[in-house]
């Protein structure tokens, strides 16, 4: 179906699929406000299905992706605005924020690496999943140091971001975490930018805290990585 459109036509078609999918899923979320109606996960699922049905391979979707994400950089920089509005929260809760994010970063890295090593996966896969809770540029650098595979590391980052965005709100409800600061920090620590975007849909304070946690967890993960890699040596592969 798609081949006779040429790359320009395919790119337009991809944008024409993505934007309405976003509008549809977003309005669904805003109507029902259910955390499992995650905009990123559901939107991507709709689009992947459409691409498969239309026979468009991912490489033909890439130019459309590049056009649509051109504002991602400036948008993320904009996180400084809610962070600045809630700056008093930072000075008042500095220790709680640092402690929680450090704990979360360590757990996320340790559990992922421990389970994959125990499961007998090759070392390059284990080292690629290690930094999965941080933004892609951080993750790629950390994976490289320990001989992981950068594109696979990036795929794990996206998989974790999607899983955390999808399950995060629901899990926090189950655990009765209602405090907006705590919810935001949990989203940002585990699911980086995707979690931050999801937290912003809950509220501005959640978004500000998630953005902060995203930055801190990137730094903590880089710092903890050598310790986790060292601990892994004591884990047997089954």
């Amino acid at each position: 179906m798609a081949p006779h459109l040429g790359q320009g036509g395919t790119t337009l078609l991809c944008i024409a699929i993505t934007v309405p999918a976003y509008i549809l899923v977003r309005s669904l979320y805003l109507r029902y406000k259910h955390p499992l109606l995650n905009v990123v996960a559901l939107g991507a699922a709709v689009i992947i299905t459409a691409l498969v049905v239309l026979g468009i391979p991912y490489k033909d979707y890439v130019p459309a992706k590049d056009i649509m994400t051109v504002l991602l950089g400036p948008a993320t920089v904009g996180l400084a605005v809610p962070l600045y509005r809630y700056r008093q929260l930072l000075t008042r809760n500095g220790a709680a924020i640092l402690g929680s994010v450090a704990l979360g970063s360590f757990l996320a890295m340790m559990l992922a690496a421990f389970l994959t090593k125990l499961g007998g996966l090759p070392s390059e896969v284990v080292m690629s999943i290690l930094p999965k809770s941080v933004s892609i540029p951080f993750a790629v650098e950390i994976a490289k140091i320990y001989h992981g595979v950068p594109p696979l590391a990036a795929a794990f980052v996206v998989a974790t971001g999607t899983t955390g965005s999808l399950l995060g709100g629901w899990l926090l409800n189950l655990a009765r975490v209602s405090d907006p600061m705590a919810r935001g920090l949990a989203f940002g620590t585990v699911s980086h930018g995707q979690g931050t975007a999801t937290a912003l849909m809950e509220g501005e304070q959640q978004g500000a805290m998630a953005g902060l946690a995203m930055i801190l967890s990137g730094i903590f993960t880089a710092g903890f990585a050598p310790i986790v890699v060292w601990l892994l040596e004591f884990v047997p592969a089954i």
């Binding site: 977003r26 950089g73 999943i129 999965k132």
Partner: protein, 119 residues
């Protein structure tokens, strides 16, 4: 009209900060995402008063309202990795699920407890 122009001007400020950080990271080879550096730089500019909230807030609020949109095309990229996930499916699924669920709850509960104690 003036609203639109104002928002565009603010977008230019955000873009300039991002672009400078991106350039800096590429130039120095620092293993830090340009966006993360950008948030820190803009935050410091706001705290020091060099940039005021009204220089950036309309554009920032509008972009952040739709921040999830930008991650949808990124998540579509997962379709490329179906093979790896298929081959080692169960272990990877378990690893990703456990290492997402436990820290989300741990961070949420830890922060909430520490806040309540301060009360």
């Amino acid at each position: 009209m003036t609203q639109t122009l104002k928002a565009l001007g603010q977008l230019a400020v955000l873009w300039l900060v991002y672009w400078c950080c991106d350039w800096f990271v590429t130039f120095t080879g620092l293993p830090v995402p340009a966006t993360v550096l950008g948030v820190i730089v803009l935050f410091l500019l706001l705290v020091s008063g060099i940039v005021k909230l009204h220089h950036v807030q309309d554009a920032a609020d509008l972009l952040l309202k739709h921040l999830v949109f930008f991650f949808i095309p990124v998540a579509v990229g997962l379709m490329e990795w179906g093979g790896v996930f298929y081959e080692h499916g169960l272990i990877l699924l378990a690893a990703i699920l456990v290492s997402t669920i436990v820290p989300v709850i741990a961070v949420g509960l830890a922060t909430q407890r520490m806040q309540r104690r301060r009360g």
